[in-house]
């Protein structure tokens, strides 16, 4: 499964997931307070950029992320401009962008499995671990089933009926899930 993780060896990559998450929440809270002060918000934004550089961002991923979040930035900027004026609009937009960029930095420097492991540790339950594993499997599986269904209906040579394809996807997926449950039971798995 592809994830948002970008391999690397910076101190942010090496920091273990738990403390990183904790530190992130503190910074996010601080950013939350900076919204109405454009200067503070701009500082947050520059601070975030600095962190990207420290994470070994050589290929301008920062700017790429800014571009990817630009829709949301617009979604914040325009209403604020309308209701609150230019200064406030800049403050909110920069603070929101900083929060988004920081959160994205966590995803880029922390493996999905490490974050899942934290959740598992917190839940301390075997069934939680099983659902996580099955869910991750099911993402690739359903996408494969969907691909096969699209292919099978394309092979009919007619314009596909999307709604019927969705119906077929749900039917086939649920049958698969029920067969899968049976095979788990057959392996002697108990919850």
């Amino acid at each position: 499964m592809i994830s948002l993780y970008q391999s690397g060896n910076s101190f942010l990559h090496r920091l273990s997931a738990g403390p990183k998450l904790a530190a992130l929440f503190v910074v996010l809270a601080a950013i939350g307070l900076s919204t109405s002060h454009p200067v503070l918000a701009a500082t947050s934004f520059l601070f975030t950029w600095l962190l990207y550089l420290l994470a070994g961002d050589s290929s301008n991923r920062f700017l790429l992320q800014v571009w990817r979040f630009s829709y949301i930035a617009l979604f914040v900027f325009l209403p604020q401009l309308y209701f609150g004026g230019i200064e406030r609009a800049f403050g909110f937009t920069l603070a929101t962008l900083s929060a988004l960029l920081l959160a994205a930095l966590l995803s880029m420097t922390t493996r999905t499995i490490d974050l899942v492991a934290i959740m598992q540790k917190i839940s301390r339950s075997k069934s939680f671990a099983l659902i996580v594993t099955l869910s991750i499997n099911s993402i690739a599986l359903v996408s494969n089933l969907a691909k096969n269904i699209v292919e099978a209906s394309a092979a009919r040579g007619v314009k596909p009926n999307r709604i019927r394809q969705i119906v077929t996807l749900f039917v086939v997926s649920l049958k698969f899930a029920d067969d899968y449950a049976e095979s788990l039971a057959a392996r002697g798995i108990r919850i």
């Binding site: 990817r68 209403p79 991750i136 993402i139 996408s143």
Partner: protein
């Protein structure tokens, strides 16, 4: 509540189904808040799995998204989806799915078509919009009423999704009655 073994793959498969619906291209009506087919999966999770299991499926989907899998429409994911101005909707998904399951469970004697129509309106629209609007209004320090007005534009797409969800649910019940217990 206790899960049976067969619930595990069903919950997992809905995580996969909601993710698969994210592949259908999202439309940006309001910049930053996509019109997404994924709420169709959320609604069906509630209707098919019921309140408890459906909620678990949506929470698991969100947990994996939070942990860094790009499962949201347009290949987005990670913690940033949960700190941005649209995070309220995602909270709404997990409330809405519960509401849908709950409403259908409380109306066992009403024909499925009607009970699920009601459930989809309450859970698929109201329960998702309210946290979505409140979160935006709160984090952006904006007037709730104005935000709610802007949000109305989603009614078009969401009504269509409810219609599709009804068609899929009824067809699923006919094709694989065991799907709904």
């Amino acid at each position: 509540m206790k899960l049976e073994l067969r619930d595990y793959p069903r919950i997992a498969i809905f995580v996969g189904l909601i993710a698969a619906l994210g592949v259908i291209p999202a439309i940006q009506v309001i910049p930053g808040v996509p019109v997404t087919a994924q709420t169709l999966g959320v609604m069906l999770a509630g209707a098919v799995l019921g309140s408890y299991r459906g909620t678990l499926a949506v929470l698991m989907f969100e947990l994996l998204t939070l942990a860094g899998l790009p499962l949201l429409a347009g290949g987005r994911g990670g913690l940033s989806a949960f700190v941005g101005p649209t995070a309220g909707y995602l909270i709404g998904w997990s409330i809405g799915v519960w509401v849908i399951g709950f409403v259908i469970e409380k109306l066992p004697k009403v024909p499925l078509f009607l009970s699920s129509l009601l459930a989809f309106v309450l859970g698929g629209i109201v329960a998702i919009y309210v946290p979505g609007i409140l979160w935006y209004a709160y984090t952006q320090n904006a007037p709730v009423l104005a935000v709610a007005q802007g949000n109305l534009i989603f009614l078009v797409g969401d009504s269509l999704k409810i219609a599709i969800a009804l068609v899929v649910l009824i067809a699923l019940k006919a094709a694989y009655p065991k799907a709904l217990r």
